[in-house]
Point group: none
Chain length 85, copies 2
């Protein structure tokens, strides 16, 4: 379960899918499923797991990046940020 399979989004919830996905990944990071400097799921994997468009997957990752929770390396993927300090 370390991969969190079973998490689902509700496409008709008031909170848009991209935020729900960001929340799920945020929780996994907090739970240590994705650790510092290791890659979080690629956009394609997010698309596959949550059955959303790539643009939605990208937005979810963008939310986490803007929060500073992850950093994105072009053409490589997005990685969990190390605790600041």
């Amino acid at each position: 379960m370390a991969d969190g399979r079973g998490d689902r989004i509700d496409p008709i919830a008031p909170v848009p899918p991209y935020r729900q996905i960001a929340q799920i990944i945020r929780r996994r990071i907090g739970a240590g499923e994705y650790r510092p400097d290791t890659r979080i799921p690629t956009e394609s994997e997010i698309v596959g797991e949550f059955e959303v468009a790539r643009s939605t997957a990208r937005r979810a990752v963008a939310v986490l990046r803007e929060e500073g929770l992850v950093y994105t390396v072009p053409n490589r993927g997005s990685y969990v940020s190390r605790p600041s300090g």
Copy 2:
């Protein structure tokens, strides 16, 4: 003409380029221009002939692969499938 030069895609047609290209290759296979177990054009060749991005060329090939019309050998190319049976 066995190489099909002259086939063109319409970038603004309702049918997207990647499907038009798949259709053209599909037709060539049906016409025997590309025969069983022989390679179809590489992604680069498709890019050159139809003047599309590689990602579009890949999608066209993916369509044919999903239809079972061709099989792709990693790092080698895509080949015409043999008639099932």
